[in-house]
């Protein structure tokens, strides 16, 4: 591999790495902005608020990240989350199930929806958009049917069977609240991170998203791994639903529409590519928190929720544009002028000479070093001259063209 090639690749790598830092940087900037200009923003209570309001979106955003990496989309994660929660709530309230069993039911129902999505996409080859759009409506309907279109209230704090609330928010005796949910969310994110980067399942999910046909021809069981992404998304929708119940207590029928869009937005802001094959859990979490900070921060500047939606939209577009720019930079092809070619060729001679110096005897070394210096000076001089000539030529050409146009007119 010759030097320029290596240099070029290094440069590309640098651009990519720098733009990876942009999302975390944006989060810090947004937070700092509100801390300085917002009223009462920089406080423990606000921080707890930010964390509280991000659980349910956070979980489904992690789930949907898996699906998007395979090149698919899950539009049903929001409604599946609320449907499974309201079914679990109904089991507890109306059917008298114990709380632990009701919560297990939540997870079971949401995972079943995940299986359903996965089966339609991987086995029946339905386009993910259509398959999950259907599931979105079906789950919305099932939630309302099972709950008989009545809202379900989970037990309030302090009531019997409210132990599960402490999983997501723990209040001490002095009414000091600890956002334990953040620990659960971060833990889940960490496990998801491990799955994506350290397990074969993660490998295959990336492979399927990057080039499904190549993965299939490599003998990868594409159907199985594509399916697994949807199952994970379903399972995490259930976890998010339990988090929702813990923080907000009351679950309404026909709730959850639109949540999936925030989850997708979070993943996209975090750099997950909708064409598949690229994405990270860390990025998604940052995307979720950027939205969460906006949601909590804008009211502190007397801007209400309509502004939050507006700014989230701006952030999403900015993130996607950035992603496109990043990809373009990474795959850009440089056209070599003769001068560049000259420098590349000569660089090889320099490398060869350096190799000689390394093995030569002490006396010879000095002579060779001199030679190297001369060669380098010559390269520099010729390169500059050639560049100048090329530039002059280009200018002359442009002038000619202009004159030609004038005459034509």
């Amino acid at each position: 591999m010759d030097t320029t090639e290596r240099l070029e690749l290094k440069e590309k790598g640098r651009v990519v790495n720098m733009s990876k830092l942009l999302a975390p940087l944006a989060l810090v900037i947004v937070y700092a902005f509100f801390a300085i200009f917002g009223r009462n923003f920089f406080s423990y209570t606000t921080l707890v608020n930010i964390l509280d309001s991000s659980y349910y979106i956070g979980f489904i955003a992690i789930g949907v990240t898996f699906v998007i990496i395979t090149g698919g989309i899950d539009l049903s994660c929001g409604t599946v989350m609320m449907a499974s929660t309201i079914i679990g709530g109904t089991a507890f309230k109306t059917w008298g199930w114990p709380m632990w069993l009701a919560l297990l039911l939540v997870l079971l129902v949401s995972t079943a929806f995940g299986f359903f999505n996965g089966f339609m996409v991987s086995h029946l080859s339905l386009p993910p958009f259509i398959a999950t759009l259907g599931t979105m409506m079906i789950s919305l309907g099932i939630g309302s049917i099972v709950s008989n279109v009545r809202s379900v209230a989970f037990p309030a704090r302090g009531a019997p069977d409210s132990w599960f609330k402490s999983l997501f928010k723990y209040n001490t005796a002095g009414n000091f609240s600890i956002p334990t949910g953040a620990i659960v969310l971060f833990g889940t994110a960490f496990i998801a991170f491990l799955i994506l980067t350290r397990t074969k399942m993660g490998r295959y999910i990336f492979a399927v998203g990057s080039n499904k046909e190549a993965a299939r021809l490599s003998g990868v069981n594409v159907t199985r791994w594509e399916m697994s992404a949807y199952v994970i998304s379903g399972l995490l929708a259930g976890v998010g639903g339990i988090g929702f119940a813990a923080v907000y207590t009351t679950v309404m029928p026909a709730q959850g529409q639109g949540f999936e869009l925030y989850a997708i937005a979070g993943a996209v802001i975090g750099g997950t590519s909708l064409s598949g094959g690229a994405g990270s859990v860390l990025g998604t979490m940052i995307g979720v928190y950027i939205m969460s900070v906006l949601r909590t921060g804008l009211p502190s500047m007397n801007l209400q929720s309509q502004y939050q939606t507006f700014f989230t939209g701006v952030v999403v577009l900015g993130a996607v544009l950035l992603d496109i720019y990043r990809n373009k930079k990474a795959t850009e092809i440089k056209i070599l002028a003769p001068s560049d070619q000259y420098r590349i060729d000569k660089q090889l001679e320099v490398e060869a000479l350096r190799g000689q110096i390394n093995v030569a005897s002490a006396t010879k070394k000095r002579a060779l070093r001199e030679e190297l210096k001369v060669l380098q000076a010559e390269i520099r001089k010729n390169y500059q001259e050639m560049k100048r000539a090329e530039k002059a030529q280009a200018e002359a050409l442009e002038r000619e063209e202009k004159e030609f146009e004038k005459r034509e007119n």
Partner: protein, 498 residues
């Protein structure tokens, strides 16, 4: 004969590193059907693209209707009366025949605000009547047979005040009956003075329908002759009579008693794979030769389980059932696709992720990945194949074509597949990388692996293979032992319609 409508002189075109057209001459009379023939990559399509301005020529001139002609694109060429009907038809299948015919110049009424379908259908009928075509203008294009669709394209071209019509492999997908109809229409057009350039691999048809033949070889003009003075054998000699830089293999290097590792019987998959049967022996390179569209890639995809197929396959004497690529990989077959970016690589993933993809299960048992193991294996093979990459974490997209190809080969070497299918292994890579890959293939068969190599370069086939299988239009037309294989013999089998 009559007057010249189109003449091209000294057309030259270079692409990065490839001299695709080397000063080619070509002329066409009014009312003439002129065949343009040559092997794959001889420059036929490139010449037609230069004619219609799909890309600019580097030098040379085109005279059309007695004037210099420099179209900036196919649209301008079409407006001037030069049309191409491609092998793959470009039609809007969900629209009607008439809507397709007059797209962009629809009949209108009420000051051009409202479409007038009735008038448009009438226009179409008039056009078809003039051309002796029997097609319903209100029929949806997707309901027509391929032959009829092609006629619609020709009619569309004719409706543009046509002077020159280029037909690129027009008969490849047609039945004999449809070919008859097409020829009748071509003769009609010729009688009306339209000059036609007829690109085809079917030498028999050329003898029937054309007036003159121009042969290209490796981008060079070989010659033009009247069809009636030219036998099929002479045509083949003109097509293949090139200077050979690389000496062909003289003798098979396969042991006399080498066992059969792969046996395929009556493999069928659609029109391009019909009753294909062959055997591959241990340590053998079996070359698959044939012209474009002979069905070689389709045969291998069917064998590999990438497409649905029927037929019997034995690996090492054991009957196997291959329904999915996964099954083929399990019995030790590796497939290197002709289109590595679409089918061979996940270009946005790293070298390491790509090379270990088929063999993850063996390299790291259990759910978790042992990065160290994988890195070691990947690095070993990056070294062994001298893949030039700054690190194994480099994204594959950033590597050169030759190195990308080696990444795909590394995949199957790591998997330790004993039967390797190499489909156009040297396509789109430079000379240096090419000889490295040849060297590698020889090493692999010396180690006891067996290779099926599809190649469209006759040189390559004769240089690498121990035995050559030749296909033509979905059928295996013959085998040649390397000792008595010549370019002429291969080409004869490749144009033998059975």
């Amino acid at each position: 004969m009559s007057e010249v409508v189109l003449s091209m002189k000294g057309i030259d075109k270079r692409f990065a590193g490839v001299h695709a057209l080397k000063g080619v001459d070509f002329d066409l009379y009014y009312g003439e059907i002129h065949a343009l023939v040559g092997e794959n990559g001889a420059g036929k399509s490139t010449l037609m693209k230069a004619l219609t301005g799909i890309f600019p020529k580097d030098s040379g001139e085109i005279n059309y209707l007695g004037k210099l002609f420099n179209p900036q694109g196919p649209k301008e060429a079409l407006d001037a009366g030069i049309a191409i009907v491609h092998q793959e038809l470009n039609m809007m299948e969900h629209l009607t025949v008439a809507q397709n015919l007059f797209i962009g110049r629809e009949s209108t009424k009420h000051n051009k605000w409202i479409l007038d379908e009735k008038a448009q259908n009438r226009r179409a009928l008039e056009l078809f009547a003039k051309l002796n075509m029997n097609i319903e203008p209100t029929e949806l294009v997707r309901n027509l047979t391929v032959g009829k669709q092609q006629m619609v394209e020709i009619a569309k071209a004719v409706s543009h005040n046509l002077k020159v019509l280029v037909l690129d492999e027009p008969t490849a997908a047609l039945t004999d009956r449809e070919i008859e109809d097409l020829f009748a229409i071509m003769r009609d057009l010729a009688a009306q003075g339209v000059g036609m350039i007829y690109i085809s691999h079917r030498l028999d048809e050329i003898g029937v329908i054309t007036d003159r033949v121009t042969v290209l070889r490796d981008g060079e003009y070989v010659g033009t002759k009247a069809t009636k003075d030219l036998s099929k054998e002479e045509m083949i000699n003109m097509m293949v009579g090139r200077v050979i830089y690389e000496k062909p293999k003289e003798k098979s290097t396969v042991d006399e008693d080498a066992p059969v590792v792969l046996k395929v019987e009556n493999l069928n998959a659609g029109r391009l794979v019909q009753n294909v049967s062959f055997e591959l022996r241990k340590g053998e390179i079996l070359g698959f030769a044939g012209l474009m569209g002979a069905g070689r890639t389709e045969t291998m995809r069917a064998l590999y389980g990438a497409d649905k197929s029927s037929g019997d396959v034995w690996v090492n004497g054991r009957k196997v059932n291959i329904n999915e690529p996964l099954d083929a990989v399990k019995v030790g077959i590796g497939y290197l696709s002709e289109d590595r970016k679409r089918f061979g690589l996940a270009v946005n993933l790293s070298v390491e992720e790509n090379v270990v993809m088929p063999s993850l299960e063996e390299l790291t048992p259990g759910a978790f990945i042992h990065r160290k193991n994988l890195d070691k294996v990947a690095e070993t093979f990056v070294d062994k194949l001298s893949i030039r990459t700054p690190s194994i974490d480099q994204i594959v997209n950033n590597l050169s074509g030759g190195n990308q190809q080696k990444v795909v080969i590394a995949k199957w070497l790591i998997k330790n597949s004993s039967i390797l299918i190499f489909d156009e292994p040297t396509r789109g890579i430079d000379v240096g990388a090419k000889s490295e890959i040849y060297h590698l293939m020889n090493e692999l068969v010396a180690e006891g692996k067996s290779i099926i190599m599809i190649s469209s370069e006759l040189n390559e086939v004769l240089r690498m293979s121990d035995r050559v299988a030749v296909m033509c239009e979905g059928k295996l037309t013959g085998f040649l032992d390397i000792e008595d294989a010549t370019q002429e013999k291969v080409m004869h089998l490749a144009t033998l319609r059975m």
